[in-house]
Amino acid sequence: MADMKVYFDHNATTPLHPEVKKEMIAAMEMFGNPSSMHAYGREARANVEDARRKVADFIGAQENEIIFVGSGSEANNTVLSLFVCSSSQCIPGYRRSTIITTKIEHPCVLETSECLAHQGARVKYLNVDRYGKIDLDQLAGMLGDDVGLVSVMMANNEIGTLQDIEAITKMVHACGAFMHTDAVQAVGKVPVDVRKLGVDFLTISAHKIYGPKGIGALFVKHGTPYCPLIRGGHQERGRRAGTENTLGILGMGTAVEMRRIEMPEEEERLLFLKQHLKKGIEESIDDISVNGHPTDGLASTLNVSFTGVEGEAILLYLDLEGIAVSTGSACASGSLDPSHVLLATGVDAELAHGSIRFSMGRETSMQEVDYLLNVLPPIIKRIRNMSTAYIKGGLHAASR
């Protein structure tokens, strides 16, 4: 029944870039273990190191500062776990056991932090304002000589808000702590230079930038304390055990290379599409609110709350029309709570349940945005027609 198949969920994952696909297919026969000394191994090793160079170049790092890992989640787990390890062999003399992070991090940071709190770490959570920006004054108040690590995501996956990582890092370093940023949603969408940012750790994932799933990278600044999360092998210079995901690494290298070429011209185009989408929604649908920062956010991400409508219903009606989006509704997540990110920005729970994230990518066209704008208003109207939120005397009436 759907006329078109339109993918507006690039923050969840992206399709492989055709070049990545081509390179990976061409390399399918490459099976050598990069640790082997023979020709098979050397071929694989050459490809791994070539990809490492591309990733390092892309973020302004040195090659030996890049560790390939299984996912962004693994990279984040690795960094956080460094700071509760009590072995003096891991981080000699390092005894700062407070970790500061934010209320809008990805669950892989929040849940790991919770787990570390049970292991004796002190974890403090920074608030965000209504646009999703952290409060630098609150950070200043939290920083002290007990703080070992500050972890703040560069771009938020749900609302796209960007943080000023450079300024945050300066504050963090001034108190002698280390700085990590989960840049999974930022790298490949906005310019990222680890030297300019000054960070000690930075997380990247390949599948958010048209690379394969199951591969990510962790930047660890030269000289920074480190101990592996996965032990028992010399791979990645002893920093991440396990035979390298050679095909994934190769794919990631190509994905990053393609981003380097395509990213510069893309932001303006996406920003235009986003403005067009936002304007179109505002003009055709009443009672909506846009979540996230009005200017300081990802060009690809638009998060909108629709009053009186439950997000999962919108998602599934759009799905029936061939349009893929995601929602902050509890119903879609399997838990009973709506998006922790939207709640942290002070959005009312009802509006969080009624939120939809549209995330665009390199192939998103004006035609697709127009198709969405054509399909969405009747769906919202239809759901609102059956919604109790619009009944006089209903529970919602008093607040309207």
């Binding site: 759907a2 198949k5 009186g308 409508v309 439950e310 999962e312 219903a313 599934l316 799905d319 029936l320 061939g322 509704s329 509890a330 119903c331 879609a332 399997g334 009973l336 709506p338 009312d348 729970a349 009802e350 349940h353 027609n385 059956m386 919604s387 109790t388 939120a389 619009y390 009944i391 006089k392 209903g394 529970l395 919602h396």
Partner: protein, 203 residues
């Protein structure tokens, strides 16, 4: 890419979601004999059910509804509104979420709590009818007592599960999903589990 078989819900549920039956048009409920409202918007679901009653026969002639809810809530109430037509008030009052889920061709586990509001609102509407028509004596309080608030599991559901074979807290959770969200009801559930095992099986 999106084949029917990959839909997380049954075909019946999908059909009721795409073409929900008996939605109350507009806001006016004056023409109806009973109105029931349950749930709230903050929790992400709210349900209103309105009924017309044949006062001679005590049967439901029409049932309409509105909801703020997800696909499961929409589809389950759509099905429910079809199921109750022609039934006596007493009969309709005793329709369980289980029957509704069965009629829908099953629901994914994590969606069951989304579907229970429909029959709750229906019972509220029936009670509302009794109250309006000077039949307060017929107003039935929820006879079953809700033990697990999160999954809306009553002492009756726990008893049923024991009768169907659950003997441990874990087995009870497998069958009813009680205590699988916040877990606060664990102590009370365990007491009931022992009680029903003793009553029915002398264990």
């Amino acid at each position: 890419m999106l084949q029917a078989g990959e839909w997380a819900y049954s075909e019946t549920l999908k059909e009721h979601f795409m073409n929900p039956k008996n939605i109350l048009q507009g806001e006016n409920t004056d023409d109806f004999d009973g109105v029931g409202m349950e749930g709230n918007l903050q929790c992400g679901d709210q349900m209103m059910v309105v009924i017309k009653v044949d006062k001679e026969k005590d049967t439901i002639t029409d049932c309409q509804w509105k909801t703020y809810g997800c696909a499961s809530a929409i589809a389950s109430t759509s099905v429910l509104s079809e199921m109750v037509k022609g039934r006596t008030l007493d009969d309709a009052f005793h329709i369980s979420p289980k029957e509704v889920a069965l009629e829908l061709g099953g629901l994914p586990d994590h969606k069951i709590h989304c579907s229970v509001l429909g029959d709750k609102a229906l019972r509220a509407a029936i009670n509302n009818y009794y109250t309006r028509n000077g039949q307060e004596e017929k107003v039935k309080q929820e006879q079953a007592r809700v033990i697990c608030q999160c999954m809306n599991i009553t002492d009756h559901d726990i008893e049923d599960a024991v009768l169907e074979g659950a003997r441990t807290y874990f087995e009870l959770q497998e069958r009813t999903k009680c205590g699988t969200v916040c877990g606060q009801c664990k102590d009370e559930t365990e007491v009931l589990l022992e009680k029903f095992k003793h009553i029915h099986f002398g264990a």
